[in-house]
């Protein structure tokens, strides 16, 4: 026993523990970052939660937690609640809501729930009932998902065209502005070549008018 103590093997193990803890910290950190980061690619199912009072909540269950401060003597684990992403911020006012496990009656995963990412007001959750294809053209009877996919493709194309035109208009405006400044510089020195650049600018202005009409 004493020999063991004198040999100092215990301290060797202490140093080994140092390496072990460091390695655990690194591994733990990397795993944590990977799980939380890559986990964004495997998103949760869109569920329909049926509450005990008959109401239904549609959304994705993002996390589960124990309500802080709810541990009491008869319920040492405390109350559990789910954080559900219900989207539709323009209707509900907030993106997320809490659902207590005690209020929950059933969790279903129906196949026809959709989540649509929008440019404003965040994602929308729900069921597709109908589509508006241009003013006055309402389609509600057929299989809506393939129709929506083709409509989305069209919208994407239009957006791309709009962006391109925006860039071209910007370029033309930039040219006009440069020529305007050059003209102003010339008029401040003397008016000899101002006729030429004035003509140039007229021409550019005519082009931009044409482009806007084209749009």
């Amino acid at each position: 026993m004493k020999a063991f103590w004198k040999s100092g093997e215990l301290f060797v193990w202490l140093t080994a523990a140092g390496v072990a803890v460091s390695l655990l910290m690194i591994a733990g950190l990397l795993v944590l970052i990977m799980v939380h980061g890559l986990g964004q690619f495997w998103s949760q199912n869109i569920e329909e939660l049926h509450l005990k009072d008959g109401r239904r909540v549609i959304g994705q269950v993002m996390s589960r937690e124990i309500v802080p401060g709810s541990e009491t003597h008869d319920h040492p684990e405390g109350r559990v609640r789910f954080r559900v992403r219900v989207g539709n911020r323009d209707t509900f006012g907030s993106d997320f809501r809490w659902v207590d496990e005690a209020d929950l009656h059933a969790r279903l995963v129906p196949g026809d729930l959709v989540k649509i990412d929008r440019r404003e007001w965040g994602p929308a959750y729900g069921r597709l009932v109908g589509l508006y294809d241009g003013p006055g053209a309402y389609r509600g009877s057929e299989q809506l998902w393939p129709v929506m996919e083709s409509m989305l493709a069209r919208v994407e194309n239009n957006r791309r065209t709009i962006d391109e035109l925006d860039e071209r208009i910007g370029a033309v405006n930039h040219e006009i502005e440069t020529l305007r400044l050059k003209r102003r510089a010339l008029t401040l020195d003397g008016t000899m070549t101002s006729h030429e650049s004035a003509r140039d600018e007229e021409w550019k202005r005519r082009i931009s008018v044409l482009e806007e009409e084209y749009q």
Binding site: E9, A16, A17, V19
Partner: protein
Amino acid sequence: MLDRTARYVVSAGGIAVIVTILAIFFFIFREVTPLFTTPTARLLARFNVPGGTDPQGPIFIGTDDGKTIAYVAGPGGVRFVDLSTGTVIPMDGLEGFPSHVTVLAQGGVGSNRYVAATADGLIIPFKMGVGTRFAEGGQRIHQPLFRQSQPFRMASGSFTALAYRAAAAEQGLAVLTADGALLYVDVPDGDAEQRVPGKELYRFDRPVTHLALDGALTNLYAGTADGLLYHFELKEVAETRPSAISPNHPGRAETRLSPEVYRVAREGVAVSALGFLNGDRSLVVATADGDVSVWGLTRLPGSLGRFHLEQMHKLSSHRAPVTSFSPSTRDKGFVTADQLGQVYVHYATSEQTWLRLPVTDSAIRAVAFAPKSDGFVALDAAGQLALYEVRNPFPEVTFQTLFGAVWYEGYERPEHVWQSSSGSDEFEPKYGLMPLAFGTIKGTMYALCLAVPLAILSAVFTSQFMHPALRGTIKPVIEIMAALPTVVLGFLAGLWLAPLLERFFPALIGMFIVLPAVIVAMSFVWSGIPSRLRERLRPGTEALVLMPLLAGSMWLCLWANEWIEGVLFGGDFRQWVLDAFGVHYDQRNAVVVGIVMGFAIIPIIYSIAEEALSNVPKHLIAGSLALGATRWQTVLRLVLLAASPGIFSAMMIGFGRAVGETMIVLMATGNTPILDWSWSNGFRTLSANIAVEIPEAPHGGTLYRVLFLAALLLFILTFAINTVAEVVRQRLRDKYMSA
């Protein structure tokens, strides 16, 4: 050929690095030096104001932002003087101003509303100032403004002193009649009645020289001719009914206040100037002895709500009685003028009299600090008006205010505080760097507490007890920790670790008990294994064996968190901390920062320490082992000693790194600049402070330059530490290479 180009390229690189560092140092230095330049003043113009030698009486003087027009109000009437030519600007509406004005008062620092009282008891409110108008070409034109309101009467007889305050919604007026009655009234707006009753607050039995009323219309001060200062709290007055009082019937007074009396000057020395600084919290008292001091209300310890006036700052005394005083409208500076014609420019917070100027030869009757604190106008008894320009851009910064304890407005004693900005000009900026420096040291100490043991132990094991192949794998893995951006670490610390630790702190304490126990137990078990089996395993597998064991015990502690909390801390950890230490547990505290910053520093200390330990000559180790020492005895008595300079320099470099760490402390602490060593609350470091405040600091302003000073401090500190560490390391290398 290749050698030469390589040499040139490397030298050029090295020189570039040195030049860059020097350039950074000089740039920072250049941004800081303006803070400590001496202020200067310059006479711009001197005029003889026509009709300037008015009969004796109160005179009030003022000027505008651009120092283009000065206005004088006094017994000779109101005059506007063009400061570029010295001529009086003709104006209509000035004729109605009475010529027997006995007292004048301004409605607050920087206010353009005044009241004047005449010898027969008439009170005239008026507005006087300089307005701006923009001309065709966009130039700014200054024009004088004067508007007199309907006068009213408060009591019969003349008044000896007046205090007036025009606050946002109401106006308060306090007058002292010739027989010592102090009356107070809320000035009516419509002036419907000619006679306004004033509430009598007090009756003085000694002559009073000055009155001052603060912006909240709560505190009224009266300075007497024998060096006493009376303080009245007016809060109760509003609740009582006003009574029509005339000074001839003092017995019928309904409400009488009991004032606090303070001695502010020697017996028989009069209070010759009294007024508030910008913000209405500091009271400037100047005496006939020439003393200038700043007083403020502080709360008495223990009692609830009772205030006590204390002398906060004492400034340089004049050599003659002080005649006039004018506060700055922007900060806590002010000017005082005396009977010898000298003007002193002071700053209250830093307790400095920055300039002493001999302006004229005769007594100065009135002085006014320009609104931008960049000059003043002074009118003397000979009727001369002098205009001075003052350049003192950083009056609140001295070595004492940066590094010493300063008595700020509203505080009970001098303290070290960092609170650099707020919403209004009335705020007193507090640039105490001590809490920040303290925070830097605190964060570094907590980080080193975790990092140094782990890093040194790991380095010892990796260099001494590990098989080289295993070492070649483990060493880079640990050094990978250095590659993690500290923003990620800070983010995780603040958002993931801090809430987790708040719930599982008992488990952490449990780990301090369980993990060493597991290590000790494992070492016993290992030595019990037959040595034939042990020798077959590569040296260094102890660490690999420990990893799952320690992970398992940590998990066990987390799982048993509530049980540990119940057993060790009586069921509620936060309550236990409050009872045992008297501190409140903050979620973002020093332990969280220590853990995460330690994580960031471990690879740095580890690399250098490991290198130092590996460079101990192998023949020494071999000799020790051959002579019969166990491997631990060799390490403890030989290797550690031989490598101690290297280990020391590793710690110093880790220290230098921790001092400069910004993002982790920014995100994981509460960023509170406090002077408290406790592990349960946060702190603010110099580096995080710079990161937080520099985007909002006005370019070239005081805060901007003080932040650069903080950067300079950090730069010098890190530079010094790293230089010393590097020198020690070089010497170690030379020593062992030659062996």
